[in-house]
Symmetry: C2
Subunit: 239 residues, 2 copies
């Protein structure tokens, strides 16, 4: 604010908190890669002494938990909450959650192996997501004993799909020197190249869970449709 008087002494700095630490840690990973995610580098980026950082984060494992929670809190629960309220279908809720989940994690591919194996018990936003998803799909008629395998099978597919978003469009191209890849070449030639229209130009495309790599879309739709159908049948089997 232009009218505020300059304070004496050191410039005021926002008080360190876990949200701020998570945000700066994610920036560090995006800007400089996963190898840079150390307590030392992070305290440098925050402009604080390492001891100050350790007041808020116990160790590297705690930092991973913090990052996981910050990412998961970005995943849309709108569809699942709508399902609980009886306002959207199971299909729409699963699709909303899955697209948003993939879009969030596609920004941080190098973190996925760590996050996939990090227990959720001390990550409140992550616990909340699983609890809402469990409540929603149970309320839609998924049997209690199937809830975990449904969630984990979707997540496995979503983690892998988030990685695929980052693959170059020619990741499967056989190249020129190969002589023994005639079938692969035929398959690639036959696969429809994504049209300009599929490359979304809508505003808020990212908020809608859309991703940049249009080549990743057909396999994602294919697998997601397979998982959703199988899940709908769990409900039908019950009635």
């Amino acid at each position: 604010m232009g009218s505020s008087k300059r304070s004496a002494g050191r410039p005021s700095k926002p008080v360190l908190n876990r949200e701020m630490i998570a945000q700066q840690a994610l920036e560090l990973v995006i800007d400089r890669g996963l190898d840079s995610l150390t307590m030392t580098q992070l305290s440098k980026k925050l402009g604080v002494a390492a001891s100050a950082l350790y007041n808020h984060v116990d160790n590297k494992a705690d930092l991973v938990l913090l990052i996981q929670d910050a990412l998961v809190s970005q995943v849309s629960l709108k569809g699942m909450l709508g399902l609980i309220d009886g306002e959207v279908t199971l299909t729409d809720a699963l699709e909303d959650w899955a697209r948003s989940y993939r879009a969030v994690f596609a920004n941080y591919p190098s973190l996925i192996p760590m996050i996939a194996i990090t227990p959720v018990s001390d990550a409140p936003q992550t616990l909340r997501m699983y609890n809402v998803v469990a409540q929603a799909i149970m309320s839609a008629g998924i049997p209690d004993d199937a809830v975990i395998r449904v969630i984990v099978s979707f997540e496995s597919f979503l983690f892998g799909s988030a990685l695929d978003v980052n693959a170059p469009s020619d990741v499967l191209d056989a190249g020129e020197q190969s002589t023994d890849s005639a079938w692969l070449k035929q398959a690639i030639g036959a696969a429809q190249a994504p049209s300009e229209q599929q490359q979304s130009t809508r505003p808020h495309a990212e908020a809608l869970g859309e991703v940049r790599n249009a080549y990743a879309e057909p396999p994602f739709q294919y697998g997601l449709a397979a998982l959703i159908r199988q899940t709908l049948e769990l409900v039908e089997e019950r009635v």
Copy 2:
């Protein structure tokens, strides 16, 4: 060999080649983590000067390609080759390939993000795998224009499933202090704990594509069944 004469001078060392380099690189990742996978560390492990390593591997990207190819060469193509010969069904071929693929990559979770985005054009074993899989599923009646989305959707699921194999069995446990996770707790309580029988004691379990974490099995079976069914229908739609 006890009877061999001790040779004069330096002990003979096997000549450096790309297979040996890939093997030592994989050991380095397992023993000391992905961060240790540098050209410097690798040349140390190989006991050669960095310049000798650079005679065989151009740079880190080339090293990743080499590792990818070494891993992919471990994936079973038995089912797919059997499908080409008309000896096994499409379902059995997909299941053999998928289980083996997951088992191989489950050993190297930290490499998955890199491998998922590495173009295959200079990796001969990888090209061969894709070519055999494409030929096999085309011969079973999958339309040419669907082959790539089938393969990539399976791979997305398999990469994520390989990560899930490494998750601790309590990865979704809510813990004690949580108050807002009643639905999640109910779902976890209802999920069948894997029985002792599911924990395979068969010999050659790993060769059969089985993995250690039995908790990962129900979601894997669920998702794999969904993908296989959807793929079988691509054939049915044609006839």
